[in-house]
Amino acid sequence: MTTTVPHTATPEAVFDAAVAADERIEPRDWMPDAYRATLVRQIAQHAHSEIIGMQPEANWITRAPSLRRKAILMAKVQDEAGHGLYLYSAAETLGVDREELLDKLHSGRQRYSSIFNYPTLTWADVGAIGWLVDGAAITNQVPLCRCSYGPYARAMVRICKEESFHQRQGYELLLALSRGTEAQHAMAQDAVNRWWWPSLMMFGPPDEQSAHSGQSMAWKIKRHSNDELRQRFVDICVPQAESLGLTLPDPALRWNEERGHYDFGPIDWDEFNEVLRGNGPCNAERLAQRRAAHENGAWVRDAATAYAAKHATAHQEDRA
C-alpha cells in the first residue's frame, strides 16, 4: 500500500483508503478480521475446487481416444494440481496452513464448486467441461485478477492464462466431435445438454439470495454480481454454440433487443441446493476419493518428514 494518509490514521482508515484507491492489500498489512476470514473461505474453496476438479477429468485420462488428446488432458489435470498449489499458498499468506484447509475439505467443513459433483459419462464431457465449466470459471475469475488482496489477484493472473488455454482446447475438442461422425456429434450434443445448466449454477445463487456478495463487493474482492456474470457468460456462449453446430438445452433462450442480452429460462435452484447439501450425483464419491488419497498417502508423508528430520540432524552433526 502506498496511499498517503496521516500518521495518526487508524488501521481501519488506512485499509479503507487503500481499497478506495484500488490499491492492493498485502499479507503484512492490517486488515479487518472479517475481510481475512472471507478471503480464507473463498481462496480455500477455490483451491479445493481445483483439486476435486481433477477427478471428473482424470476419469478419462486412461481412455482418451488419441495420444494427442491424452497429452492435452494430462497437461490440463497437472495444471489444475498446480493451480491448487498456488491457491493454497495464497491462502497461507493469511495465516492458515494447507493441512488445516485440507482437513476442513476432508471433513466437509469447507466446500468446493458444486459443478464437480456431476459425472463425466462420455469423452465429450471432457470437452464440455473445458468449454462450459472452464468458460464459466474464467468469467468469474478474470475480475478476480483485480481483487483487492494482492496474493490472490496475482495467483489469478497466472491461473486465468492457463484456464483460457484449457477453455479453447475444450471448445476445439467439441468442434472435432460436432464435425465428426453422427455418433460423435450426438455425443457432443448430449454432453452440452447435461453440462449447460450446472455451468450456469457456477455463478452462485441469484443476487437477492447471495449472502456474501454485498460485503465482498464493498471490499473489492468481488467486482460484479452473480447475475451480471451469469448474463455475461450466456451472452458469450450462445454464438459459440452456434459456431460449434450444437444447441443449448433451453427453449426460452432468445435475443432480447431491448436489453441487448440473451434472455434465458429459469434455473432449477432446488437441484443446486441439493448438490450443495451433498446430495448431488457424485458428492460422496468425490470426497471419498480425496480422503482415500490423503489417508493412503499418510505413510509416504510420514516417511518424507522422518527422512527430512534425520537429514537435518545429520547436517547439524557435520557442522558440530
Binding site: L85, Y88, N296
Partner: protein
C-alpha cells in the same frame, strides 16, 4: 530394424506413461500429482515421437493387440502402492537415462530424440532416487514397503538389458552401470539390492517378444476401448 527398435522403446514409454496417468487424483501429496503427471507427459511425448517413426501413432497405440506390443514387462506392472510405483520408476528411469545418454552420444536414428529425452529422464531419475532415499531411510513402515516393492519388481529388470535390434548401445556396459547406480542409491537408502542375479532368476523377460503379464490385457482394454468403438473416427 529402426521400426522394431522404435516400437520397443516407444511401447515402453507409452505403457509406463499410461500407468503413471492412473495416479491422477490419487497421489499422496499435491506436489506428487504434479510430478507424476509431469513424468507421464514426458514419457507420452517420447512415445509419440517414437511411434511416429514406426507408423501412425494412434493406429499403433490403439489398434494393436496385446501380442503385438513389445514393451518390457516392468513398464506394464500395476502401480501398487507408492513404493511400488517408485521402485518401478527407479529401475526404469536409471535404465532409460543410461540408454538415452548412449543414444544421444551416437549418430543413429534415435540421436535427436535421445538428446531431448536424456534431459527429461535425468529429472525422472532424480525424482525416483530422492523418493527411494526418503522411503528407504524414512520410517520403519516406508522402509519395509520400499524393500518389498524392490524385491517384487526385481525379476522384471533382467529383460531391460536384452539387446534390441536396431538400438546401437553397449548393453553389457549399460547393465553394469545400471547395477552400480541402482546399488549405490539402495545402499544410501539403507535398502538391500534384491537377491539373485537377474539373468539367472526367472526374469519373465519376454515382453519384447509380445509375451506379457495378465494385467496388461486389461490395461489395453481400457486404453483402446473408446478408439475401437468408433472405427475410422478422428478426435
Amino acid at each position: 530394424m529402426t521400426r522394431t527398435a522404435a516400437l520397443a522403446l516407444g511401447d515402453d514409454a507409452l505403457v509406463l506413461s499410461h500407468r503413471l496417468g492412473e495416479w491422477a487424483g490419487h497421489a499422496p501429496v499435491l506436489e506428487e500429482e504434479v510430478a507424476l503427471a509431469n513424468i507421464a507427459l514426458d514419457l507420452l511425448g517420447q512415445a509419440r515421437t517414437l511411434l511416429s517413426m514406426a507408423g501412425d501413432e494412434d493406429e499403433l497405440a490403439y489398434l494393436r493387440e496385446e501380442r503385438a506390443f513389445t514393451n518390457t514387462q516392468l513398464t506394464e506392472q500395476p502401480n501398487g502402492d507408492f513404493a511400488h510405483t517408485i521402485a518401478r520408476q527407479l529401475y526404469f528411469s536409471v535404465y532409460q537415462h543410461l540408454l538415452y545418454a548412449q543414444l544421444a552420444a551416437g549418430n543413429g536414428p534415435f540421436a535427436p530424440l535421445a538428446a531431448k529425452a536424456v534431459k527429461e529422464t535425468a529429472y525422472h531419475r532424480d525424482h525416483a532416487e530422492h523418493w527411494t532415499l526418503r522411503l528407504g531411510d524414512g520410517t520403519e513402515e516406508s522402509h519395509r514397503r520400499m524393500q518389498h516393492a524392490l524385491d517384487a519388481l526385481w525379476r522384471y529388470t533382467g529383460e531391460l538389458f536384452e539387446p534390441v535390434e536396431g538400438v546401437a548401445v553397449d548393453w553389457a556396459a549399460l547393465r553394469e552401470d545400471w547395477l552400480t547406480l541402482v546399488g549405490g542409491t539402495l545402499r544410501e537408502a539403507t535398502l538391500t539390492l534384491p537377491q539373485g542375479p537377474q539373468g539367472d532368476a526367472w526374469t519373465a523377460g519376454a515382453g519384447r517378444q509380445g509375451i506379457h503379464t495378465e494385467p496388461f490385457g486389461r490395461m489395453l482394454a481400457e486404453m483402446q476401448h473408446l478408439h475401437r468403438s468408433h472405427p475410422g473416427a478422428s478426435w
